[in-house]
């Protein structure tokens, strides 16, 4: 099968933002392609600009250099074809119930209206197993449930790509693990495209089929690796994928340099 046309093309993107005193370069000439149905993970230590990169794909920040294209069209501003799911629990509108939150997205974006919006909302609320809580206000839900609502809201939009900014980072370890399984299960069902940001190596290995490693200050592409989610030992190197990533991020040099010199 011929490789499909990439869905999202990030091409030589340099991002900068201003603080009170400095102009900070967050990423430097980062390039990668995301294909349809990818679970593409941006992984790196804090300060590698992965969240900034995600916001640029979301259309909130314009690159100072390079291009971001979705289905061949330049990304210039936020839009309903790229829905963000954030880490913060306050991404849900506290004055709306679970059902209204999901419907809000559909209605305000002009995706659907009336009964269609409600039906679609309930379908996705059901997918994340929150049907019983459809009429609950967000403040009565646990952290994991809130994130599931946010995921349902994002998926209900049926965007070209779902942008997830460390969505499970504020959850406790058990819930986090459960949410990762749930996300994978949802993906099995629909095959939607995900661009997922995390700083957790095990999470990247579990969630992603493709992992982009970024180096910090400013973020540059270090490697792009495949993952089957199992973290198996690679017979060639005798290392697990997570160990390999760990070595690359923390030993401060690329894995190729580990090969014996003059080999």
């Amino acid at each position: 099968m011929a490789p499909a046309q990439p869905l999202l093309q990030v091409d030589g993107v340099t991002l900068q933002y201003k603080t009170r005193e400095h102009l900070v370069t967050a990423t430097y000439r980062v390039s990668f392609d995301v294909h349809p149905s990818d679970r593409f993970v941006l992984l790196g230590p804090s300060g590698c600009g992965k969240s900034t990169l995600l916001k640029a794909v979301g259309g909130y920040i314009a690159p100072v250099e390079g291009r971001i294209r979705l289905k061949g069209r330049d990304v210039t501003r936020p839009g309903r074809d790229r829905v963000m799911v954030f880490q913060e629990f306050d991404q849900l509108l506290p004055w709306k119930t679970v059902r209204q939150n999901v419907m809000f997205a559909l209605l305000e974006s002009g995706t659907l209206a009336g009964r269609d919006a409600e039906e679609r909302a309930m379908t996705y609320i059901d997918k994340v197993n929150l049907t019983r809580f459809a009429d609950a206000y967000p403040h009565t839900l646990s952290g994991g449930m809130k994130q599931r609502v946010a995921i349902a809201r994002g998926m209900a939009m049926e965007p070209d790509i779902l942008l997830m900014d460390e969505p499970f980072a504020a959850l406790d370890a058990l819930t986090r693990r459960k949410m990762q399984d749930d996300l994978l299960q949802l993906w099995e069902g629909t095959g939607f495209t995900i661009l997922f940001v995390t700083h957790s190596i095990p999470e990247a290995v579990r969630i992603g089929n493709r992992v982009l490693l970024l180096s910090p200050h400013p973020g540059q592409v270090w490697a792009e690796l495949n993952s089957d989610g199992q973290d198996r030992v690679d017979p060639a190197t005798g290392q697990r994928l997570s160990e390999r990533i760990h070595d690359m991020l923390f030993a401060g040099h690329a894995v190729e340099e580990k090969a014996p010199p003059h080999a």
Binding site: Y60, Q91, L93, A105, E108, Y137
Partner: protein, 289 residues
Amino acid sequence: MPEHPAARPEYVRAQVREQDFGVVRKPLGAWERIYSNGFVRKGLILAVLAGIWQIYGIYLNNPLLLPTFFATLLSFFERIVSGELPLKALTSIEVLLQGYAIGLVLALVFTIVAITTRIGNDLLETLTAMFNPLPAIALLPLALIWFGLGSPSIVFVLVHAVLWPVALNTHSGFQGVSGTLRMVGRNYGLSGVRYVWKILIPAAFPSILSGLKIGWAFAWRTLIAAELVFGTTSGSGGLGWFIYENKNTLDIPAVFAGLFTVILIGLLVESLIFRTVERHTVRRWGMHV
């Protein structure tokens, strides 16, 4: 080297079955339940205060200085039945609502300009810094020169009393709206007025509501004070005028009755209107601070 704690045996205990407990859930006694009601406790305090007032009034025996509680109550009901107090209260509330409404609209316009432009932001900050500490009543002499004796002067002063605290609270509420919520709004294509209406105002509602409450309290005080200072233009003044008039005729129980009405209306608005709004909005949404 640290000393290790002494070794102790482990144990596992059988759990007592629920039906073997003495008390798992038992309704509280009648007295306990009545006493846990805030209204009852506060009513009790009011009754004690009224009792002290009554006893001291009788002991003083000088209705010109301090009429007794029951004399005040009697005067209050007489004036209500005669229709005088309700009329004065209505006059006051009418003027108040005009000032309050104009103040709110202006506050909304100011804050929207302030959040959309940087210079608007600076303007609002400078103006609130200047005018918020200035008691509205201090502008009354000027208002009288500009608008003459009449309700426009009072409305002007009221607008001033409402505008700044409401604008200040709304503005700080808007500024406190989390970046995440803002991004969510933009993600679904909200911008301009729809963005303000659908994201900013509900998200900042706790601050806006407390601004509305402060604005109301300021307006109410300012109104009564303004009426006391220059009374009325036409035949029927407001509550402040009622108090002033009765002081002049030395009808002190009526003065107390007037004060009583001022307090009562203030309490009613706070506990009926604002509490209800609060219960149906910020409390329900879990947003109260």
